[in-house]
């Protein structure tokens, strides 16, 4: 250091330049033109973990690992020709052989003010191990990130390929839009059915898709279009048998009957778009038509022989040749009963088919329901007398008129009343009440019968369901009655409910509009 101090000839007092040199944040080394260390400061000694005597008077090559130099040969050359060198990054080793990354900046030191003769070089050295560590960390991090991005990209491609494959292989057409009703998805089927190239429509407004229209060819209004409705109002929609049929136009102007389900797509509460799933229901409609024709035909063809045998049996039973009490009269009664049972079954099956095809058309009129209740009572008198049942009727509103299809009400009541009689043991009670509120007529039919087991409550109105506790008591039931009742009541905008306890009885509550 002495030499460095001695050579400090920049006009500072020795004390000041000493302080500057000793406390400089950077290591400082002075080299002679031949690369031998002439002086070093304390900062560098700490940085390199060396003693002054290890370095001063040694060539730079010896300072370090044989292959590393504090200053690179080309930089030394630059300096000797009067130029600056660096910043350059190199490694040095400390005494223990540990790597210390450094960065240096080297400037020539001139012998005189004319700047012509280079006397040596000053090298300013900065320990950049912290920076290196950070850089290394950053590199690792970047590398990790790159790997993750690559993996995620691969995953996304795979997922996209999968979704494309799934969407493409679904038999239904799928069209999705965003909240601006711009098309985001058109699967292969949809493109095929609509006659569009699936790429061409993406990103465009759904107006570019051939429109849905009615049977007469009139397109749906904007508010009626399912995708727009789903996006603007959040309402899902679906076509159902019995509804007005919808048709989907194709780009070539032809069209096909369509079954379509549309739902809004939500993220949290926000609607971000909507998706329609649709299919060509041409075949289904043909089948439906065939089914309807079959039911109409069956309705006529099955019932005609039943009415013939019914009326001829009635005539025979009334004949004086078979007076009451004879075995022939009993046989005729059995035959007649079988005829009635068959009629009931055919009626139930046909009503069920109509309900399912959506062709059960109701014509609600103001109906004297009590008349129908009374005639149902009259019709069942033989059974009621035989079983010694007590039927109590409380008409709080004897004039009550409900707004209901009379024939449909008759089916509903027949079912409820015949169930009450059928499933009540001998000597039991059936209690009927009719009352009125401002907007409805209420019917109650309570029996003291076998009751409905708790486990059967939920399934009671399902088709073909029969509770275990009555299956062995009565072999007549079809399991269709209450299904029909519920369907008719729903279609008539009424309500039906019940409460029941096994062994105690059942009460049905029926409410109809008025």
């Amino acid at each position: 250091m002495d030499k460095l101090k001695q050579k400090s000839a920049h006009g500072f007092s020795r004390k000041v330049s000493d302080l500057l040199i000793e406390h400089a944040p950077e290591g400082i080394v002075m080299l002679s033109p031949d690369g031998v260390v002439r002086a070093v400061n304390e900062t560098f000694l700490k940085m390199a973990k060396r003693r002054e005597e290890d370095l001063v008077g040694k060539a730079m090559a010896k300072l370090d690992h044989p292959h590393e130099h504090l200053i690179q040969a080309k930089d030394l050359g630059l300096i000797l020709s009067g130029k600056k060198a660096g910043p350059t990054e190199v490694h040095i080793h400390d005494r223990r052989g540990r790597h210390v990354p450094i960065e240096y900046l080297a400037v020539p030191v001139y012998k005189n003010a004319s700047h012509k003769i280079v006397e040596g070089a000053l090298i300013f050295i900065r320990d950049i191990s912290k920076r290196h560590k950070l850089q290394l960390k950053l590199e690792n991090y970047t590398e990790g990130l790159k790997r993750r991005v690559e993996k995620r990209t691969r995953d996304l491609w795979r997922q996209m390929a999968e979704s494309d494959a799934v969407l493409g292989s679904i038999g239904e057409g799928i069209v999705a839009v965003d909240n601006k009703i711009h098309v985001t998805i058109v699967n292969k089927q949809a493109a095929r059915m609509l006659g569009i190239g699936n790429g061409k429509i993406l990103g465009k407004h759904a107006d570019y898709i051939p429109q849905l229209c009615r049977e007469n060819g009139q397109p749906l209004t904007r508010e009626e279009r399912p995708l727009e409705m789903a996006v603007t109002t959040g309402k899902a929609s679906a076509t159902a048998p019995g509804d007005e049929p919808l048709f989907q136009a194709r780009t070539d102007g032809t069209r096909f009957p369509v079954g379509i389900i549309t739902t809004p797509v939500r993220v949290g509460r926000k609607i971000i778009g909507a998706v329609s799933v649709f299919r060509d229901i041409t075949i289904g409609r043909e089948l439906d038509k065939a089914k309807k024709e079959f039911v109409a035909l069956a309705s006529h063809q099955l019932r005609t022989p039943l009415s013939i045998s019914g009326w001829y049996l009635e005539k025979l039973r009334a004949s004086r040749q078979f007076p009451e009490g004879t075995s022939e009269s009993k046989h005729l009664a059995t035959l007649y009963k079988a005829n009635r049972r068959m009629t009931d079954l055919v009626d139930s099956l046909l009503t069920t088919s109509r309900i399912e095809m959506g062709t059960l058309v109701l014509a609600p009129v103001y109906t004297d329901c009590i008349d129908i209740i009374d005639s149902a009572h009259l019709e069942r008198l033989p059974e009621i007398t035989r079983k010694n049942l007590k039927v109590k009727k409380e008409y709080e509103s004897p004039e009550a008129q409900a707004l209901v299809d009379p024939q449909a009400f008759s089916i509903v009541w027949d079912n409820l009343f015949s169930n009450a009689c059928k499933y009540t043991p001998e000597g039991g009670l059936v209690n009927i009440r009719v009352s009125e509120s401002d907007s409805s007529v209420e019917f109650e039919i309570a029996d003291s019968g076998y009751g409905i087991p708790k486990g059967a409550h939920k399934k009671l109105f399902t088709k073909f369901f029969r509770a275990d506790n009555v299956v062995d008591k009565d072999t007549d039931g079809t399991g269709l009655g209450l299904y029909i009742v519920k369907s008719i009541v729903d279609k008539s905008h009424g309500k039906i409910s019940f409460e029941s306890e096994e062994g105690k009885g059942t009460t049905f509550h029926l409410t109809l509009p008025k």
Partner: protein, 128 residues
């Protein structure tokens, strides 16, 4: 035999039903019975005989019941005559509305009604 001078026309394509209805009404009410096996024959017979009550089946060959009714209502006499529809097409709201528009308020559902019910309803019409 109190309705000896009254005429009832049964229009029904099913022979056995036509026969038993005729037989029963004749026997119980003493009315004069006319029978037709389709709407066309029935219409001609109705216009010629002016029956007091017509029992009319709906599904028939040659001319169905609703078409016959259409034609009947065009006739000056036929406008006001009593018609009872014989049907098996029950629970069919559309048909009900159709018939209401033709001034028919009553149906006889063949599988549901007994012969006695039919006789009772025809008697009411003859009285009315």
């Amino acid at each position: 035999m109190q309705y000896k001078n009254k005429k009832v026309l049964v229009i029904e394509d099913e022979g056995p039903l036509r026969e038993i209805l005729g037989e029963e009404l004749e026997e119980k009410l003493g009315v004069q019975i006319f029978k037709a096996k389709n709407g066309k024959v029935g219409l001609e017979m109705a216009i010629k005989e002016h029956p007091d009550v017509i029992l009319l089946d709906l599904v028939m060959p040659t001319m169905d019941g609703m078409t016959m009714l259409d034609e009947l209502r065009k006739d000056e006499w036929g406008k006001g005559t009593h018609v009872l529809i014989l049907t098996n097409l029950e629970h069919d709201g559309e048909k009900t509305i159709d018939a209401l528009e033709h001034g028919v308020y009553e149906y006889i559902v063949k599988t549901r009604w007994s012969l006695a019910d039919v006789v009772k309803r025809v008697t009411e019409k003859l009285e009315g």
